[in-house]
């Protein structure tokens, strides 16, 4: 992002002030880098009767001071679905000033309007740059959580690691507020920290106040599964007595409720003692399944049926039916 100005404008004239020779080449991204010297020299040509002459003005030099600015944004596209236990919120810190600056980070889990508050365990830096918290790889900041010096325009992905308490209810929401403050100082725009900028320049608080915060949101996605089993009996005589030869039709309804989803939901049911499975009777939501393993969601053997419902979203009911014959 940085570009280095390729050349100095040639200085006409015979005397070059020493300060100009020492001046570093200005390098800047969007904002001119702190410490850059801005030099202005005008030159004139004229004819005084003895021919064309060229003269230079004096050179005026001003030095760009360090601007302290920072932005914090949440990198989560929406509320993070959480359950009791660990959760990760992802933020981006950008040094929008014009010089290298470190930022102290603090995460506040007690935000007005929270249904519950989390406990902030740690703040970590995304060291492998994949925007995913990798324990043992991404660096957990200790003490006052402070970033390294970030170059102007550089950004850093930061994780806030929290624990969601037990006892939260489905759909409850909680926010965490991550604050980044320039280590040099913060304050109202224009506040000056004398001599604390790059190369001994002053550091000036920019329009952001040299601090910024962003909210990371969580919503509890608790999902529960209720299995409801019922049976109807039809005996060989047209009645409903559990006599040998009677067919018992079991209906197992899996009710998934809550705002999340359950993964790898497998429903198994053992046949009661004194009964045997009626081949080919297994069905899911009214559609027959084979008894064989692996060709569809369900299978049945001599002891139990098993139906793999996979991922089931909250608010969904799946209905499994099968028959057994009373011995």
């Amino acid at each position: 992002m940085k570009k280095t100005v390729a050349k100095f404008l040639p200085l006409a004239g015979t005397t070059i002030p020493i300060a100009l020779i020492l001046a570093s080449q200005p390098a800047y991204a969007e904002g001119v880098s702190a410490g850059t010297l801005i030099e202005n020299t005008a030159n004139a040509t004229f004819d005084d009767g003895s021919g064309t002459r060229t003269i230079d003005s004096n050179t005026v030099v001003v030095q760009v001071n360090e601007l302290l600015d920072v932005t914090v944004t949440s990198l989560n596209t929406g509320p993070v679905a959480v359950t009791p236990g660990s959760a990760v919120l992802t933020f981006e810190i950008t040094n929008t000033g014009n010089g290298p600056e470190a930022f102290q980070l603090s995460a506040n889990p007690s935000v007005a309007g929270n249904d519950f508050d989390t406990v902030v365990d740690n703040i970590a830096i995304d060291r492998n740059g994949n925007n995913v918290y990798d324990p043992g790889i991404d660096e957990i900041l200790t003490g006052p959580a402070t970033t390294e010096l970030l170059d102007a325009e550089a950004n850093l992905t930061v994780f806030v690691l929290v624990t969601v308490p037990d006892g939260v209810a489905d759909g409850e929401e909680s926010d965490v507020d991550l604050l980044a403050e320039a280590v040099t100082g913060t304050g109202t725009p224009g506040t000056t920290f004398v001599g604390q900028g790059v190369d001994g320049t002053n550091a000036i608080v920019g329009l952001t106040g040299a601090d910024d915060n962003a909210i990371g949101s969580m919503v509890v996605g608790l999902t529960s599964v209720d299995l409801i089993k019922s049976a109807t009996i039809s005996d060989p005589f047209g009645g409903s007595a559990a006599v040998p030869g009677a067919i018992v039709t079991y209906t197992v309804t899996a009710n998934v409720s809550g705002s999340g989803a359950v993964d790898e939901l497998i429903v198994t049911d053992r046949y009661p003692a004194g009964t045997r499975y009626r081949a080919g009777s297994l069905a899911l939501d009214g559609t027959s399944l084979t008894d064989a393993v692996g060709d569809d969601e369900g299978d049945a053997d001599t002891t139990q049926i098993s139906v793999d419902l996979g991922t089931v979203a909250g608010g969904t009911a799946r209905v499994i039916t099968f028959d057994v014959i009373v011995n």
């Binding site: 969007e30 004229f46 002459r53 003269i55 050179t59 005026v60 030099v61 760009v64």
Partner: protein, 158 residues
């Protein structure tokens, strides 16, 4: 006494004044300066513009570069042209005088900004913008003995 040959250098390196040797016998003298243009809003919401010493400047600030000229000789000078390369760290302010004669190609060609174009890296031509200006010049012609004036341009720190 070696001492008297030392030229004091201001501690901050700001506003270094280094008159060129040639200027000493020149009938025309130039004096450059720069100020920070600060807009101040008072409690009544009235905005006033102040010109202050550029001790503390940051990107986005507005500077006013000035060059005062004076003919200190006894004869008029002719064909007076003042050229000011624009420092790379600033851009010409967007509200600069549209009549300024500028160059966007390092002083090769000149004109009012609205008449100039620049070529992009891909070879496309577009209208020149204030940020493209590399040089400004003023063509004054004759400067009579004792005559003086000020030439200036506003710039924004990139």
């Amino acid at each position: 006494m070696l001492k008297k040959y030392f030229i004091p250098i201001t501690a901050t390196l700001l506003a270094i004044s280094a008159p060129a040797m040639a200027a000493q016998d020149s009938p025309l003298v130039l004096e450059g300066d720069v100020h920070l243009v600060r807009v101040v809003t008072d409690e009544n919401g009235v905005q006033t513009t102040e010109m202050v010493e550029p001790d503390v400047i940051v990107p986005g600030d507005r500077l006013l570069f000035t060059t005062d000229y004076r003919n200190i000789g006894s004869d008029p000078v002719n064909d007076f042209v003042l050229t000011n390369p624009v420092p790379a760290a600033v851009r010409l302010a967007p509200d600069a005088d549209t009549g300024l004669e500028v160059s966007v190609d390092g002083g090769e060609s000149w004109g009012a900004l609205a008449t100039l174009t620049v070529e992009s890296e891909t070879g496309e031509t577009r209208a020149a913008e204030h940020a493209d200006v590399t040089h400004i010049r003023w063509t004054l012609g004759v400067v009579e003995p004792g005559q003086s004036g000020r030439l200036e341009y506003p710039a924004i720190i990139r």
